[in-house]
């Protein structure tokens, strides 16, 4: 069984969502890639970002709000992880964000030269110079995707925010040159802190959005939102996702990818036999 995202071969459909595992340095000192098909390190920006002041996380019933603020050491430090990424037995996709087009283009040009990176996931939930997220406007989505498309030759996945009617946003990303989509980023929420909600609490909302767009999008989709079990993965695969990201569940079980894959393999075998 193999899985394919725009020509990127994955051994399993399970992808580590950008964020929870950082750039992978600490995680892969302790755990292996077992169960994972693709690794997406935490979003890298052109310049280092100090991130938001604490508190940055707040647990909710069945969920977690985070407001990390894209803390990262910037592209120069990220490039030093070449050996780690080359040593992994799974492909690595970069996640990038920028507050200006210029920054994104520079990141695209640098990453375009890296043979060990199979593609880019474009994180649009970074405030632009006007202080608004690119992801909130179809025009912005088009403009940003298109700018990156001109300098980056390998697959681009655009990660969109959850919106009540997602199709105009999806269309903008496709028109801008996206090869694939990551649906969706965390859900805006508030409990003591304002941030993005993730975890089981958001899954029913995201499944409804997937139902809405089913059969209407003809580029590959990575689903993201509340995946904690093999049956969660199947829910998204059945609604048209080509791969499924796991994020917050790594906090509950750092070995979650391995756990889900063991179960999923059996479930997928069974469902194929019954066809």
């Amino acid at each position: 069984m193999s899985w394919n995202l725009c020509g990127i071969e994955l051994r399993t459909p399970l992808v580590s969502a950008s964020g929870p595992l950082g750039w992978g340095k600490e995680f892969f000192e302790i755990f292996s890639t077992r169960g994972l098909g693709l690794f997406i390190p935490k979003t890298v920006t052109f310049k280092p970002k100090i991130g938001n002041p604490p508190p940055r996380i707040e647990e909710t019933t069945g969920g977690l709000i985070n407001s990390i603020g894209l803390e990262n050491e910037g592209i120069d430090e990220w490039l030093k992880l070449k050996h780690l990424y080359e040593s992994l037995d799974i492909p690595v996709m970069a996640s990038i964000a920028g507050s200006t087009l210029d920054e994104l283009i520079k990141l695209g040009e640098i990453i375009n030269t890296l043979s060990y990176i199979v593609g880019i996931e474009l994180n649009l939930s970074c405030p632009n110079v006007k202080g608004e997220n690119w992801a909130n406007s179809p025009n912005d989505i088009f403009e940003v995707t298109n700018a990156l498309r001109r300098v980056y030759k390998k697959p681009i996945f655009v990660k969109l925010a959850p919106k009540d009617n997602p199709l105009p946003y999806i269309k903008s990303a496709i028109d801008g040159g996206a090869d694939g989509l990551t649906l969706f980023n965390t859900f805006p929420a508030f409990k003591n802190i304002s941030g993005g909600l993730s975890g089981p609490a958001i899954k029913p909302i995201y499944l409804r959005l997937f139902k809405e767009i089913k059969n209407k999008v003809d580029i590959p989709i990575m689903a993201s939102g509340g995946v904690f079990s093999a049956s969660d993965v199947l829910d998204y695969l059945n609604l048209g996702a080509n791969a499924v990201q796991i994020g917050t569940a790594f906090f509950k079980d750092p070995d979650i990818a391995e756990r889900i894959w063991e179960e999923l393999e059996t479930l997928l075998d069974t469902s194929r036999c019954s066809l």
């Binding site: 595992l21 950082g22 340095k25 991130g51 977690l64 509950k252 750092p254």
Partner: protein, 238 residues
């Protein structure tokens, strides 16, 4: 190196307002005083593990001292003997051990990491433990501390030991001071020897990756409580 263990509950009962949890992981684990473990809460509505500093280690037995503060610790307190907990650790940077006369100050549930620390320090130690009231600890728990070092008790209501706050009773003559407890207590430790403190936070990944648990140092830097800490020099933070 941290890893995921299955720990069978041997003891899980109140020792005053705190609970003592002892689990067996069936292998010897090397843990430094001040390090912590993340315990998985097996409820679908809880996504984060709960972080507990190590209270004691004896071969394959790990002990924790905790207080019920929410539904996660409530769930933990209801685990019966024989329940198999999923625990991840040991994590974080522990205390650096000093071989001289040391003062170990603990406020509330902050007394937890001090017992194992006291056992590991080669030298004379004194515990200065504080709580709102004497009923916070039971006799058995206090005796454990008294077996390891000199014990001085302070309660806010004066029902046991001296009346007031631990920070009013800090004396001199120590090579080093270790402390764990409420932020207000830590801020009011004024001594002229090095002080190491252990901090508490909501923890997500536990190994420094997610940047969820940062604290701002006096120098304006963000440090990860789970990885750079949970033990810090007092003067670095407050």
């Amino acid at each position: 190196m941290p890893k995921i263990y299955t720990g069978e509950v041997l003891i899980n009962r109140p020792v005053g307002d705190l609970f003592l949890l002892t689990i067996s992981v069936n292998e010897t684990v090397t843990v430094e005083p001040g390090q912590f473990f993340l315990i998985r809460i097996d409820r679908e509505d809880i996504v984060l593990r709960r972080a507990f500093s190590i209270f004691n280690v004896e071969e394959d037995k790990l002990s924790f001292l905790y207080r019920i503060v929410g539904k996660g610790t409530r769930w933990l307190s209801e685990r019966k003997i024989g329940y198999r907990l999923n625990i991840f650790g040991p994590l974080g940077n522990g205390f650096s051990l000093e071989n001289g006369k040391c003062l170990l100050i603990g406020g509330g549930s902050g007394i937890a990491p001090l017992y194992y620390l006291g056992r590991r320090i080669k030298g004379e130690i004194k515990f200065l433990l504080g709580a709102q009231s004497g009923s916070f600890w039971d006799k058995e728990l206090l005796l454990k501390y008294a077996e390891v070092g000199e014990l001085e008790i302070v309660t806010e209501d004066g029902s046991l030991g001296k009346k007031g706050l631990v920070t009013q009773y800090i004396d001199n003559g120590y090579r080093k001071v270790y402390a764990c407890g409420p932020v207000e207590m830590l801020k009011n430790i004024k001594v002229d020897v090095p002080v190491e403190i252990s901090l508490e936070s909501t923890i997500a990944c536990g190994f420094g990756a997610c940047r969820g648990c940062v604290i701002e140092t006096k120098g304006g830097e963000y440090k990860r409580i789970c990885k750079d800490g949970p033990v810090f020099e007092l003067e670095e933070i407050f």
